[in-house]
């Protein structure tokens, strides 16, 4: 055999191996880009792999970078699934065209309409309620009613908020725009800012600590932060208040969710996986890991979470959070909410 033939042959062998390896690797594998933490998703991935044999490879990062990465990779992206927290991010990913629409009876049945994209490009997997937390030594529940009411004069110097740069607050204000319109929302947010006891905090934990320490009397937080803190230090004087009682509107909820990518190499596998994630079997694992609420109404939350009482969630589709986010951020800049 001549030298060049040898080279050709070995090249062919290598190619065949590569092709074989690709085909083999392609068979039962999923690639996930996730903005949800490793320790919240890994147990589910492992459970799914044990059950089905499908190997799941994943990478975690913030939503923004993950989205840009998907866009830069384009058709050659290895990602099948984009998982994020916050509906605004999913809405934006869909706008940017990196997610594909899917039809699935299972998903449509298990995920209420408000918590998924009307075109089926993303679906909620768990719910995160954002409501009032108060210092139960200094405030009686009767003093509380709605989020808007925290802007009333009697709350002057008693309110603590997290920074407006956090997407949870951006979504909250966007949803208020959806409910009350921009002018009314601007009044509400302005009145909150006027009532602040301290400069906005960097995170929900700091808000909780400030309320517990008596620096202020009430704040607005995601309930799982409250749950986590109470779990660690049960004797803190903190209680949750649901804002649906005296309001025409329900409690503000956001989602963490997922969408199948436009160029997913394994779209069918990805869909099966998302369908499994909303099944009763997976829902508790998914939500309980972070003391969140299952998106599937037929599944009850963790007992500790149930103990905080039940509430009516607002019916405004969470997609509005994305749609109005830009307006919300501008509004908060205008009223000087930092």
């Amino acid at each position: 055999m001549s030298h060049s033939k040898k080279v050709l042959l070995s090249f062919a062998v290598i190619l065949a191996c590569l092709a074989g390896a690709c085909a083999w690797a392609d068979e039962r594998e999923l690639v996930v880009y996730s903005a949800r933490n490793e320790h919240l998703i890994k147990p589910l991935f492992d459970a799914y792999t044990d059950k089905t044999g499908v190997r799941i490879r994943f990478i975690t990062d913030k939503e923004g970078p993950l989205l840009e990465r998907l866009k830069a990779e384009g058709e050659s992206s290895p990602a099948d699934l984009l998982m994020t927290v916050d509906a605004g991010n999913l809405w934006h990913a869909a706008q940017e065209g990196v997610l594909r629409p899917v039809k699935s009876e299972v998903l449509e049945k298990s995920v209420p309409e408000a918590y998924r994209d009307p075109e089926g490009r993303w679906f909620g997997l768990s719910l995160r309620a954002r409501t009032i937390v108060y210092n139960n030594r200094r405030v009686k529940p009767a003093e509380l009613s709605t989020l808007e009411a925290l802007g009333n004069p009697e709350w002057k110097g008693r309110l603590c908020l997290r920074t407006s740069k956090k997407v949870y607050n951006q979504s909250l204000v966007a949803m208020l725009i959806g409910l009350y319109g921009e002018a009314r929302t601007e009044e509400i947010v302005r009145s909150w800012v006027a009532n602040l006891a301290a400069e906005p905090f960097a995170n929900d934990d700091a808000v909780l600590s400030a309320v517990a320490a008596g620096q202020c009397d009430a704040g607005i937080v995601n309930t799982y932060y409250y749950g986590r803190m109470i779990e660690k230090t049960p004797d803190l004087p903190l209680s949750l208040f649901w804002t649906d009682k005296d309001s025409d509107h329900g409690v503000h909820v956001n989602i963490s969710g997922a969408g199948i990518t436009r160029f997913a190499p394994h779209p069918e596998e990805a869909l099966k996986f998302v369908e499994w994630l909303v099944s009763p079997e997976a829902q508790n694992k998914f939500a309980d890991a972070n003391l969140e609420y299952p998106v599937n109404p037929s599944v009850s939350p963790h007992p500790d979470v149930q103990a905080w009482g039940s509430f009516k969630a607002d019916s405004l589709p969470v997609a509005k959070a994305g749609e109005f986010q830009e307006r919300a951020v501008k509004l908060m800049d205008r009223v000087g909410y930092k």
Binding site: L18, P65, A72
Partner: protein, 550 residues
């Protein structure tokens, strides 16, 4: 004398070529970001201009000036004490004062804000004693950010100035004495001015780190231009807008670098080259020795001991839940990635510094400064620039070799890409100490060597490198700890399932579990202790310079 050197910008030598190619490579992602200015966004800028930019710009300028001043004072003072004087504990502090570098600045911020804020344990304790810390000394304030960032960043200045004093020779003192300068005058009129390139290098690094910082200022909710960048990106979903504000930011930095270079060129300080006798340290006694010890202890306590104790306390709470054998992998990976990046980027910095020395044209200066701007760009934004460049490269490559490998991108998600990303981000960190060290090498060496018929390559290998030893080590140590702490580039470019200690910290903090982030932070600090063993001892550079050049 200068006539024997190659004419500025005219003659090219092959030994300067690697630096040139490198500069173009690392400038690419920065130019990609800069190209955003061709897509005007009038609505966004109208809003930003009205409500966001002016306050953010003024806060950025104030913060940068404050932190530069803080790190200059702390860093130079400490380096002078440990480098020029002798007092009890000096040996220990000489190295120990570098340790705060091993802790990410945002971890510092979290610890200090967490404990000094109204609800923090220290504040609660003091309030029970009748002392209201939150009104007396509010931590979430301009003073608080400056203090914490100065404490986190002073080691850049300390390390570079320390390297200057280490390589300074006693003859400068003797010459000064002959001229009748001694005591404080010796320090302020001779040693300190001679350290100017080093101080500028260290403070420059601090300034760039400060303007690019997002993690630390966000703990304080102190809105700088970086906050505006993230607001444009995450709030308004406009990466273009974010890239535009970034471009504004690093153009300003570029301008400052070029100005500093033009103004600073008058004064040049060279190694005397006669006999390299290390500086004789002044022995402090009595109150002076006590004060020196006190100052060093205080900084060490605030910058290292107290934060580490806090980390240990938090780690213990979650140890059983979080600590397992995976931490060995995290540790090993962190050390391996940081070490290889340290070697790669230090060599790259050397090549660049050498090219800059050989070609002192404005064009070269501009290219070098642009190539090292990555340090002044917020990491996540720069990471996008890198990924865009690599995706283009991938596409071009797969078009070239046919669709064979199209399903498997070559560049994305590989360790190679990570290293390239670090190079783009941290080239400045290795370049700055080497540039100042090279600036002090007398041109006479190059000339003499050239007359002796040495090639450019062997001048670099046999003369520059031995003389730059402490500069090389300093830059390797700096790059090691920087890469070790780096987050956004790592997150974006790492292979699947690739976790390092910094990634662990991210996993915990991104959902607000700061206390659980203490364990990886603590292990990170231990990892940062490794390279400190490498730091140059008190021995001047050039002790083994070829006889002919002495």
């Amino acid at each position: 004398m200068k006539s024997l050197l190659p004419r500025p910008g005219l003659s090219w030598s092959t030994s300067a070529l690697p630096g040139f190619v490198l500069a173009i490579l690392t400038a690419a992602p920065i130019l990609v970001l800069a190209s955003s200015i061709f897509q005007p966004l009038p609505d966004l800028w109208e809003h930003l201009g009205r409500y966001v930019l002016m306050p953010a710009l003024s806060k950025t300028v104030q913060l940068t000036l404050g932190v530069c001043l803080g790190t200059f004072v702390i860093g130079t003072l400490l380096a002078s004490l440990t480098g020029l004087t002798e007092f009890p504990g000096r040996n220990f502090f000489d190295r120990a004062l570098i340790l705060p570098l091993a802790m990410p600045a945002y971890v510092f911020a979290f610890i200090y804000v967490g404990s000094l804020e109204y609800s923090g344990p220290a504040a609660v304790f003091l309030r029970s004693a009748g002392l209201d810390l939150s009104t007396l000394l509010p931590i979430r304030s301009f003073g608080g950010v400056v203090a914490v960032m100065s404490l986190a960043f002073y080691p850049y200045v300390y390390l570079t100035v320390r390297q200057c004093f280490l390589s300074q020779s006693q003859s400068i003192v003797e010459s000064a004495r002959v001229l009748g300068i001694s005591g404080a005058g010796l320090f302020f009129k001779v040693l300190l001015p001679a350290a100017r390139p080093w101080i500028a290098g260290g403070v420059g690094l601090t300034a760039m780190e400060t303007v690019a910082d997002f993690g630390t200022v966000s703990v304080f909710n102190y809105d700088t231009l970086t906050s505006a960048i993230y607001k444009a990106w995450f709030g308004f979903f406009s990466l273009t807008g974010a890239a535009q504000i970034s471009t504004m930011l690093f153009s300003g930095v570029l301008l400052l670098i070029l100005l500093e270079k033009s103004f600073g060129r008058g004064a040049r300080f060279w190694l005397s080259g006669k006999k390299s006798v290390p500086l004789q340290k002044i022995r402090l006694r009595g109150a002076a020795a006590f004060s020196a010890f006190g100052v060093c202890s205080l900084v060490f306590l605030l910058g290292f001991c107290l934060p580490v104790i806090q980390l240990i306390l938090w780690s213990l709470r979650h140890l059983s839940q979080d600590f397992d054998s995976r931490y060995w992998t995290y540790f090993g990976r962190t050390a391996a990635v940081s070490a290889s990046a340290a070697i790669l980027i230090t060599l790259a910095g050397l090549a660049l510094a050498y090219s800059a020395r050989r070609h002192r044209s404005l064009g070269m200066r501009f290219l070098v400064s642009t190539a090292t701007l990555g340090y002044a760009v917020p990491g996540a934004v720069l990471a996008v620039g890198v990924v865009i460049v690599c995706a283009h490269f991938d596409r071009a490559l797969s078009a070239l070799i046919g669709g064979v490998l199209s399903s498997q991108p070559l560049m994305t998600q590989s360790v190679l890409l990570m290293q390239l990303a670090y190079l783009v981000r941290f080239l400045r960190v290795s370049f700055a100490p080497l540039e100042s060290a090279m600036e002090r090498l007398p041109v006479r060496y190059d000339e003499t060597a050239r007359i002796l018929g040495m090639s450019g390559k062997s001048i670099l290998a046999q003369i520059h490198i031995p003389l730059l030893k402490s500069g090389l080590l300093t830059s390797a140590v700096l790059v090691f700890v920087e890469v070790m702490k780096e987050l956004p580039m790592t997150l974006m470019t790492r292979p699947f399932g690739w976790e390092t200690l910094a990634v662990r910290i991210f996993e915990m903090t991104s959902e607000g579990e700061w206390e659980r982030a203490a364990l990886p932070s603590l292990v990170l600090v231990f990892c940062g202790l490794l390279p400190l063993l490498l730091l140059p001892k008190d021995r001047p550079d050039g002790a083994n310079l070829p006889e002919a050049l002495r």
